[in-house]
């Protein structure tokens, strides 16, 4: 049967086409996982992007307690409870890096001597680079051990084990490469954009669905909002710096800022918020509105007390989709929040969201694929979870008023 073969062939092609998209999704996940997964840990989430130098001295009332056993990587000093190894940094410098610090180690009981934060608890941690150490020798003299004198990891441990009877202070460099600042920036952006976009969006949806009669002006309003969906996000960025920048200046912004990025995102989110709210309003049965009005409630009372509470799922969907959009947005922010990674962001400072941070580290001279993959994984995890929740809400919404 020729026809049967032809049919099978055509069906086969659709299977192949579908397999292609699965392949792409799989390839993306595989690439990101192999390149980025090993970077994802508490350090990545909690530390600064820029490495910083720290000075700390062992606290006065530290009492030496014998260290526990350690059999992991690196060269371990059983006496001082610290394991180190030799590494080469991305700037091609040989450094001694900490791989383990025992809880009882003096290096774990230090306080900062950096100007401005004296007395703040400090400690060597995994990834710290040791720069110099002051220790007490057998004669009770305080000795200085510079980075050059240390040589390599083995030599450093040798000196500490053989000559030191006490540790005084230590100069070290924190590892950096963390994304804490970008996480905070992202949260700021989510807060600002939703705060602005939700009331405007919900009110617009209410007008379009509850008030607007069929008229030319209302058709035009709808057209205007629909057209926003098709505007590329980079163009929103251009709009942000021209139209919204003066608004942020009113509250004291002197450059592009996170606030400006948030305001720009608020406008980007409007169509999403409006359409998901409206979809939920459509599902609210007319009989509930009639019931409320027949009890002498005004139209706005009906909307606030009956209609909007019934539409809460749709509004929630809008919020979630909005969060997803903010997390994923990059092009509009390049113009409005700048591409400078900021470890200590505030509303009026510049900074990068997680996505924008990826753009920054990928568009530099030396693209950092591993960090970019790690951040991508974090973003994808959030976005996928949001997707699943939205789907569940959608199913509930479809059943809610049957």
């Amino acid at each position: 049967m020729k026809r049967e073969i032809k049919d099978k062939l055509l069906e086969g092609i659709t299977y192949i086409a579908s397999a292609l998209s699965v392949l792409v999704l799989g390839a993306i996940l595989f690439y990101l996982l192999t390149n980025g997964l090993h970077l994802i840990d508490w350090h990545l989430l909690s530390s600064n992007y820029y490495s910083s130098t720290a000075n700390a001295s062992v606290i006065n009332d530290y009492e030496y307690v014998p260290m526990s056993d350690y059999s992991g990587e690196g060269i371990y000093s059983a006496k001082w409870g610290i394991a180190v190894e030799d590494i080469t940094t991305s700037h091609n410098e040989d450094e001694i890096s900490v791989v383990y610090v025992d809880p009882n180690s003096p290096f774990n009981h230090m306080e900062s001597t950096v100007a401005g934060e004296e007395g703040k608890a400090s400690s060597l941690s995994e990834g710290s680079l040791i720069k110099n150490i002051y220790y007490i020798n057998e004669n009770g003299e305080t000795k200085f051990l510079s980075r050059v004198q240390m040589g390599d990891a083995a030599k450093l441990i040798g000196i500490l084990d053989d000559q030191a009877t006490g540790i005084v202070s230590c100069n070290f460099q924190s590892l950096g490469g963390g994304i804490r600042g970008s996480i905070i920036t992202t949260l700021y952006l989510i807060a600002v954009s939703l705060l602005i976009s939700l009331p405007i969006g919900i009110a617009s949806a209410v007008y379009l669905h509850e008030y607007a009669a069929k008229s030319r002006i209302n058709a035009l309003i709808r057209q205007g909002i629909d057209t926003l969906t098709g505007v590329p996000s980079i163009v929103y960025g251009l709009m942000g710096v021209t139209v919204l920048f003066p608004i942020t200046q009113l509250v004291g912004a002197t450059s592009t800022s996170i606030l400006l990025g948030g305001l720009t995102l608020a406008i980007i989110l409007l169509p999403t918020i409006i359409s998901s709210t409206e979809e939920a309003l459509i599902v609210v049965p007319q009989s509930l509105r009639d019931g409320s009005l027949s009890l002498g409630a005004t139209k706005s009372q009906t909307i606030f007390k009956v209609v909007l509470p019934c539409a809460i799922n749709g509004i929630l969907t809008g919020v979630l989709l909005g969060i997803g959009r903010v997390i994923g947005e990059s092009a509009a922010l390049v113009y409005t929040t700048s591409t400078v990674i900021n470890d200590y962001p505030n509303l009026l400072s510049q900074g990068t969201s997680l996505s924008l941070m990826i753009w920054t580290i990928m568009s530099g001279e030396q693209p950092n694929f591993e960090l970019a993959s790690a951040i991508s994984l974090i973003i994808l995890a959030i976005v996928f979870v949001i997707n699943i929740i939205v789907k569940i809400i959608g199913k509930r919404l479809a059943r809610s008023f049957v």
Binding site: L20, S204, Y211, V231, I234
Partner: protein, 306 residues
Amino acid sequence: MLVNKKRVKRNKSLDKFFHGFFMAMALLSASFIVIIVLFVFAKGISPFLPGYEYGQVNIISFLTGSLYRQDQGIYGIGFIVINTLVCSFLALLLSFPISVLTALFIAKIAPKKLGAIMQSVVELLASVPSVVYGVFAAGVIAALIKDLASSLGITTFGGSSMLAVIILLAIMIFPTLTSMATTAIKAVDKDLEQASLALGATRTQTNFKIVLAAAKSGIFAGAILGLGRAFGEATAVAMVAGNKLFGPTFDLFDITRTLTSTMLAGLKETSGLDYDIRFSVGLVLIAVIFVSNWVLNYVKKKVGNN
């Protein structure tokens, strides 16, 4: 009677206030599109006007030029427009058949469970942010192209190339095309299918001949939407475009430059004309999207009428 006259009056004025408030918000939402176009226009047109503070730019040479040297102050974007059009259309050409077939698979051919899984795959692809696609393009697509090119004896700029842009865009517009096509195919009248089946056509024949034909308007709408997205895609494209200084580029393995990658290139340390000219490029981008939308919708109407 429970009616409190004072309260009724207050309720009434509150009601009026909220009516006005809702309407004002809707008007505000709708006005943003006008604000965007107006302000980008005003700022984008300024370098071509006499008396522009950093030296007037000739609009003709801007629009038709084939050299873009920020360092020398030469801004010609004619070739960039061509590059953008070529890359986007080729991406659409690549993505269109795959997405239509996938949509047909999801809506008609796949067993129910498999169809639902595929739908989720498409939704997940749709939710991947563009920078993540960019990382994937720079890390995987570009690397593959580099290997492919060197096996053909061609050297590339680390894999950044027109081909990489096209494949990237094809992947990025795939979810839009597929979900629009799936919706269109699912909306096809069941009677139409049954009529075809009753005439002795097989399911597959019906799917390919009748269903696709009936859904073509929706599928085409998806293509228009996808193309718009391809034109406007910025960060991901900029990661693999390479930003060539002249053109147009027609060699798949050569680097290229699109409107959006131009707008992003070297933004960090720039000011004056080089900053303002990005608004002009943005204005051209809006024009390209608007004109292509208009033309394609015209074509769609023509095709739909036949």
